[in-house]
């Protein structure tokens, strides 16, 4: 843990504070105030994102510091879109997810803010769409995971609301929203691998964990499509397994020496 009293560090800490407050207010049913702080946190992360972009002179999605900041920025638009168009609630949990994501670049030493240049392998037009699609998909699947917890243990008071879907169909909608993006990330990665290294697939640990995440959600969609929502516990457990696989892909595969591979620059 460390305190980062730079312009960037202060912006990220401001976002962190706003997200924590938003989470507390939304959980206490103070929706308007909660949304104001959620929006303020979003503005602070956008400012931090732009500042970082200028600082490093490339899209700031290269390492865990930048990727976590970017995902923390994406949670508020995901929340708004989900509530308005998909009838999926859970803003308090979304704010909590955003707070956890932003906490990492704000305080955790392993998420180093040291600016890095893009190595030749990352200088590709596919860098932004590949990483962007994955980060957006992960943010959406985190929300799907929260809804799956709600479907297992009946947290509708926190995740649902009037005019909103119950947790099980909400989970399905979120997975349906995130799955094409997960597929896009996977396919763009394979295309990029072909252009950079000569092979679509390198069997590297991070690639395999990302395939595992995709396969679990693929399995969930097939089961849900074939047998409908009646196996609620099984379906929700599958989504939580997919959520866990994403956490492993994002954190463990990057941070652990156990999974050394061609994606190690993502540190």
């Amino acid at each position: 843990m460390e305190l980062r009293l730079t312009t960037l560090g202060i912006l990220i800490m401001a976002a962190e504070g706003a997200y924590v407050l938003a989470c507390a207010l939304l959980a206490s049913r103070l929706r308007k105030a909660g949304h104001v702080f959620f929006a303020l946190g979003f503005v602070a992360t956008v400012a931090a994102f732009v500042f970082r972009w200028v600082q490093v002179d490339h899209l700031p999605m290269q390492n865990l510091f930048e990727a976590s900041l970017s995902m923390g920025m994406m949670m508020y638009p995901i929340t708004l879109l989900s509530r308005r168009y998909l009838k999926v609630g859970g803003e308090a949990v979304d704010a909590l997810i955003a707070a956890i994501l932003v906490f990492l670049p704000a305080f955790v030493r392993k998420f180093s803010p040291e600016p890095q240049v893009l190595p030749p392998a990352l200088q590709s037009p596919l860098f932004a769409p590949h990483v962007g699609a994955y980060l957006l998909a992960y943010g959406i699947m985190f929300k799907a995971g929260a809804q799956a917890v709600g479907a297992l243990w009946d947290f509708d008071w926190l995740l649902g609301g009037e005019g909103l879907l119950k947790s099980e169909p909400a989970t399905h909608r979120m997975v349906g929203l995130g799955f094409p993006l997960l597929t896009l990330g996977l396919v763009l990665g394979a295309w990029w691998g072909k252009l950079a290294w000569g092979d679509y697939w390198q069997w590297d640990p991070k690639e395999l964990w990302s395939l595992v995440s995709w396969l679990i959600f693929l399995f969930y969609l097939h089961v849900r499509n074939r047998w409908g929502p009646r196996h609620r516990v099984f379906l929700s457990s599958l989504v939580l397994a997919g959520f866990t696989a994403i956490l492993i892909t994002y954190f463990w595969a990057n941070l652990s020496a156990l999974f050394k591979g061609m994606h190690s620059y993502a540190m």
Binding site: Q123, L126, V187, A196, G198, W203, D204
Partner: protein
């Protein structure tokens, strides 16, 4: 039709679960062993079964044919699997044996500047394994670097200056902080770093220190070295045209015996040197020659290979000492069209089925498949 449907209904989840479990195992094995695992005979059978399941899905479930999104996703997956199998070493062996297409799936080319060659070599043994039906000429190889800016010079410990920094270790120094040098137990503290300095000489013209200067110039660093409780202060002051200055450390003379027994101490000197800037790009300017005539010319970089005559040529390695040659990875492009078509279909089908159809159904007032 019912047996096919039953086979697909139970075979698909089984195959997906099996592939998931194997992928987890592969992630723990590492890329080399995972590659071997997924190319092993039982897994080759598995890939064929998976392909068969997809085909059977079309036969058993007419819905897949009637819904464009589902059709595209499944057809895309089929094309990706088929294209990848065709592109594999085994696919090439099959094509050579049964169809007479003789292409080498993967090889390397080492070409010196100005040299023309059509020789393909094995990436591990460097032995020649075939010829291209055309030749490649390396007009030039070069490396571009990021601008240096005003980064401080790096403090290193090692035996001698080497173009690639081999045998040296960069020290993460901050003024005032004490560092312990590897192997020797010598403790070093950076007392001061002057970004632009001029040397201070004694009466005999020897450099004895440095002082801050303005304008352009080399930096200087004052260090304190502590060995067995004794302190020694010294300056590292590069001369006008020097990119590195060396300060010998008090370590015993290293012998061939030490080298042989592995007790050789690398930390023989402190070095203050201009840091090597990060690489921006490795570039090879290539010409494709047919009957001695240039038909294509392209400068390749990582992420932008040359595609010609059924092969891709990738920037893979280079002459680290003198930049006199380049090493290209050569890959056959078998299956490329099928795989790329599969990518497009799988992604487009996914967005169509999960995004467009529910929006369309919402707009037209029908309940979607989403919930």
């Amino acid at each position: 039709m019912k047996p096919i449907r039953q086979a697909v209904i139970w075979g698909t989840p089984t195959a997906v679960v099996l592939l998931t479990v194997l992928s987890v195992v592969g992630a723990f094995l590492g890329d080399q062993q995972a590659r071997q695992l997924f190319s092993s005979p039982p897994l080759i059978v598995f890939w064929f079964l998976l392909t068969g399941l997809l085909v059977a899905g079309f036969a058993g479930f007419r819905t897949l044919l009637r819904r464009p999104g589902l059709l595209a996703m499944h057809l895309g997956s089929l094309l990706i699997l088929g294209g990848s199998m065709w592109a594999s070493d085994e696919g090439h062996a099959f094509a050579r044996e049964w169809l007479g297409f003789d292409k080498i799936p993967s090889s390397v080319m080492l070409i010196h500047q100005g040299e023309t060659t059509d020789n393909l070599a094995d990436s591990e043994t460097d032995q020649s394994i075939g010829k291209l039906p055309f030749a490649l000429k390396l007009n030039k190889f070069w490396i571009e670097y990021y601008a240096q800016g005003d980064r401080p010079w790096s403090l290193e410990v090692g035996t001698r200056r080497h173009p690639q920094g081999m045998g040296r270790q960069t020290l993460a120094w901050t003024p005032g902080a004490e560092l312990t040098l590897p192997d020797t137990g010598i403790r070093v503290t950076v007392l001061q770093y002057l970004p632009i300095a001029k040397p201070v000489m004694d009466a005999d013209g020897n450099v004895v220190g440095a002082e801050a200067a303005v304008g352009e110039g080399r930096p200087a660093m004052q260090v304190r070295m502590r060995t067995e409780g004794k302190d020694r202060d010294a300056w590292l002051v590069p001369e006008k045209e020097q990119d590195v200055v060396e300060l010998p450390l008090s370590v015993p003379r290293q012998t061939a015996e030490a080298m042989r027994t592995g007790t050789f101490v690398m930390a023989q000197s402190l070095l203050l040197g201009r840091p090597t800037p990060p690489v921006l790009a490795y570039k090879s300017d290539l010409s494709v020659l047919k009957n001695g005539e240039e038909v294509v010319r392209k400068t390749i970089v990582v992420n932008d290979p040359l595609h010609f005559g059924g092969y891709h040529f990738y920037q893979a390695s280079y002459d680290e000492r003198a930049n006199q040659y380049t090493v290209l990875l050569v890959k056959s492009d078998n299956g490329l069209t099928a795989v790329y078509a599969g990518f497009v279909l799988a992604v487009a089908g996914g967005f169509w089925w999960f995004w467009v159809v529910p929006v369309w159904q919402g707009l037209s007032g029908r309940s979607g498949h989403g919930a």
